[in-house]
């Protein structure tokens, strides 16, 4: 059974995507259409039907399950070209350096671990603030990147997904109604209830999370 897919990329679409400066420069490397490029190399008996074209860029989602049924969406080329300040692409640039330490700290101080979007001691740009999450009774801990969340609701949503058994009886915005208690260790080593301080303050001081039943 031959699989026929239309993967032709229309030229004007491409021009938009690669037009980095002004239109005049794009003429120096005209993209060839799919058939022009590909048919020469592989002799297929039937020409490819020009079906709906798929865009060049694929949208990177934050991790919510809503867009399972959505096709790939066009990403703004500017967004792709300047990573700093925006949500970085997963695993790009491909640096795999291990844990960084905060300079000047004692042996007890810990820099948050990297979730994969590694950051160095230098400032500026996007950081990943990954903290360990351990749930009482669950052997394997997880890591959550707090920088990908803007509020406690989002954090609890992620925690629900990571620890499905937690889902029973969790009300996002009302910590007191939960059957599980989410606590965190702050910079001073104290364990506090998550949700008591404003989100920004929480982000600054949290070192790791623990879920108690």
């Amino acid at each position: 059974m031959e699989l026929e897919l239309g993967l032709a990329l229309p030229n004007n679409h491409l021009m938009k995507g690669f037009d980095l400066n002004d239109g005049s420069t794009t003429n120096s490397y005209r993209k060839r259409g799919f058939e022009e490029a590909f048919e020469k190399v592989i002799p297929f008996s039937s020409p490819l039907p020009r079906k709906t074209t798929l865009p060049l860029f694929v949208h990177k989602n934050g991790g919510d399950g809503d867009d399972e049924n959505d096709g790939p969406q066009l990403k703004n080329p500017d967004e792709l070209n300047s990573i700093s300040g925006s949500r970085a692409l997963v695993g790009w640039p491909p640096v795999k350096h291990p844990r960084r330490r905060s300079a000047g700290g004692g042996a007890g101080e810990r820099w948050s671990e990297d979730c994969g979007s590694n950051s160095y001691a230098g400032g500026g740009g996007r950081r990943a603030k990954c903290v360990k999450v351990k749930m009482e009774g669950v052997a394997i801990g997880r890591k959550v990147d707090l920088c990908l969340h803007d509020s406690y609701e989002e954090l609890f949503h992620t925690l629900n997904q990571m620890f499905p058994t937690m889902q029973h009886g969790v009300a996002y915005a009302h910590p007191h109604h939960r059957h599980f208690t989410v606590t965190y260790e702050d910079g001073e080593g104290d364990w506090l209830l998550v949700g008591d301080v404003p989100w920004e303050a929480f982000i600054q001081s949290v070192k790791r999370l623990k879920i108690l039943s």
Binding site: M1, L3, L5, L7, L9, L14, F18, L20, T25, S28, Y29, K31, R32, F34, A37, F38, V41, I42, L54, L56, F57, V58, K60, G63, G65, E68, G71, P77, L80, N81, S82, I83, S84, G85, A88, L89, V90, G91, W92, P93, P94, V95, K96, H97, R99, R101, A107, R110, C115, G116, S117, S119, Y120, A121, G122, G123, G124, G125, R126, R127
Partner: protein
């Protein structure tokens, strides 16, 4: 000549074994085993080392049965892109089945090298119990063990020579694991614990280092402060490879001079790493060993360029340099004029996401390439590149075996001409006939892949990201690149056609990774159907426990990992992975 393979019986088996012992390369031994049944059996019984590039390519029990006398084994698990968090964390790569099979079949095993695998404490405990001659445990980029497991190794492996935890994540629950090395244990040659985050008992460490007089490699973790480093060095002046802990402290002249003397007493030091968060004031303490250094890793030292330059300029015999981009073009110019024996250069970004420009450009790369005639291996992160620079590198360094260029922003063109970097990379592959590993980046069209497919005859591993125009690009690679073993692709407009047209090629390769491309589930199904010796794994982390069978053919696959195997489908796939 007697029939039925009898000619092998002209000599006793021991003679053939002796002959085969001169064949170091696995490829040669594999070839020998195909000659006749007699040689197959002699070879397999005398094979002492095996390398398993993909832990799922063969069932552990089958490997152990075929080669019953193995002493050294090396196994790799997760795909390379796992280092950049592209592979689901529960994908697999479990060492349990291997360790269990080895415990059964290889009681005389001496060395175990695992890379990117999930190892458990139970594995380590089984290891410690099962192999009385066990000498080397090297876990690199692994996870799943805790210090309790390390304690079991320390306590039970009588003749342990090497414990190397390079980049392995260790759960630290047993504070005194180092104390489990018995007093009588003096055999250590390599102790590398740089990846441990927590404090180790330094007094115990000092005592261990003192009694292991053959210790050649010591890589400490961050928790070991500078003043304790002095004590350790004084106890082990015979060290050849040192990884320091944190190299930062308030400047104290007496500490500085002690440190300097300690380094001066290490006459055999060849390799230095660690230097975590070095402060410029202490770097000169390293000067006494600079002349002898062949390898220097400054990736944890985001010190200003001038200090780095002063240090590196003294290392006239350097063969390998790993450094951060804060060294800048000027620093690399100093490297080019001082380090004439340089073979390997890696430059990492200090601040990958920062908008602040660093003065490290394509000029630095060109200067090193021009100035260091023995340059063979390059890994270079930068923010701008030109085709001219790549032409210069191609001309000056035709002996490159590894060229990995990462221009940090995807789709970045030649910043002078605004052209794609096709011509530059094409020049590299055409000039560097021995190129075995290549990573491309920047703005690239299908043209570069045509060149790579046609010219890169020795290329074994190729990494592509945000490049190409269409399937033709992938087709050029798969239909060319005679020696290709590993191909990893992300975010490229490559899809079904090229994959299906080159299905047979995939069986000649170890593995193919494609993520965020245009591969459909239908193509994967077709591929899996046509090629029974391939495992076609599709992954989607949102689909936990959902049914893959009901997904339509035209749905796009987010992550695809195809690898050849004689073990059939694996049984340990997590919910987000489906073997089609």
């Amino acid at each position: 000549m007697p029939a039925g393979g009898g000619w092998a019986a002209m000599f006793p088996d021991e003679v053939w074994e002796h002959v085969f012992s001169f064949l170091a390369a696995d490829g040669d031994r594999n070839a020998v085993s195909l000659v006749c049944r007699g040689w197959y059996h002699i070879e397999r019984r005398s094979r002492r080392r095996i390398f398993v590039g993909n832990c799922y390519a063969i069932a552990p029990t089958v490997a152990v049965r075929r080669f019953p006398n193995v002493r050294v084994v090396s196994i790799k698990g997760k795909p390379h892109f796992a280092d950049f968090n592209l592979v689901p964390s529960d994908w697999g790569g479990h060492a349990d089945a291997w360790v269990a099979a080895m415990a059964e079949g290889w009681p005389l095993l001496e060395e175990l090298h695992l890379k990117r695998m999930v190892v458990t404490d139970e594995c380590l405990e089984l290891l410690a119990r099962s192999f009385k001659n066990f000498r080397v445990l090297a876990l690199s980029f692994c996870e799943g063990v805790s210090t309790a497991g390390l304690a079991a190794i320390a306590a039970n492996c009588r003749n342990l020579r090497e414990l190397d935890l390079q980049e392995t994540v260790v759960e630290e629950n047993c504070v005194h694991w180092l104390s489990h090395f018995p007093e009588s244990s003096t055999s250590l040659v390599n102790l590398s614990i740089a990846s441990l985050e927590e404090d180790v008992n330094i007094a115990v460490l000092e005592h261990l280092v003192s009694r292991c007089t053959n210790l050649k490699t010591l890589k400490l973790n961050y928790a070991v402060p500078l003043d304790r480093l002095v004590n350790l060095l004084c106890r082990a002046p015979q060290l050849a490879n040192l990884g320091t802990g944190r190299f930062t402290a308030e400047y104290r002249p007496e500490l500085f001079s002690k440190l300097e003397s300690a380094f001066a007493s290490c006459k055999s030091m060849k390799s230095l790493s660690g230097i975590c968060e070095a402060v410029p004031e202490y770097l000169p303490a390293i000067y006494p060993i600079c002349d002898g250094l062949t390898s220097l890793n400054l990736c944890d030292a985001p010190v200003n360029g001038a200090s780095l330059t002063k240090l590196v300029s003294r290392c006239k015999n350097l063969q390998r340099l790993w450094v951060m981009d804060v060294i800048e073009d000027d620093g690399l110019a100093a490297v080019a004029s001082s380090c004439k024996l340089l073979q390997e250069l890696r430059v990492f970004p200090c601040d990958p996401y920062g908008a602040d420009p660093v003065s490290l450009t394509e000029h630095g790369l060109v200067t090193v390439s021009t100035g260091c005639p023995m340059l063979q291996s390059v890994l270079y992160f930068c923010r701008q590149m030109t085709n001219d620079a790549l032409f210069a590198v191609a001309r000056s360094s035709p002996n490159l075996t590894c060229f990995r260029l990462c221009i940090i922003d995807p789709h970045t063109p030649d910043y002078v001409t605004l052209e794609p970097l096709d011509a530059g990379f094409s020049a590299i592959v055409e000039s560097c006939k021995d190129l075995r590993r290549l990573s491309v980046s920047g703005l690239l069209t299908n043209n570069v892949f045509r060149s790579i497919g046609a010219s890169a005859d020795c290329l074994e591993m190729l990494s592509i990201a945000f490049a190409g125009d269409s399937d033709a690009g992938l087709h050029y690679i798969l239909s060319g690149c005679k020696s290709l073993r590993k191909l990893e692709i992300r975010d490229c407009p490559f899809g079904d056609k090229a994959l299906l047209a080159n299905a047979a090629k995939l069986e000649t390769m170890r593995s193919l990774w494609m993520s965020s491309c245009f591969v459909s589930l239908g193509a994967c199904r077709l591929l899996a159907q046509k090629m029974p010796l391939l495992n076609v794994e599709v992954m989607d982390e949102k689909k936990r426990g959902g049914s893959w069978d009901s997904q339509p053919d035209d749905c796009l696959v987010e992550k695809l990992y195809v690898y050849r195997t004689v073990a059939g489908q694996r049984s340990d796939t997590p919910p987000c992975v489906w073997t089609v």
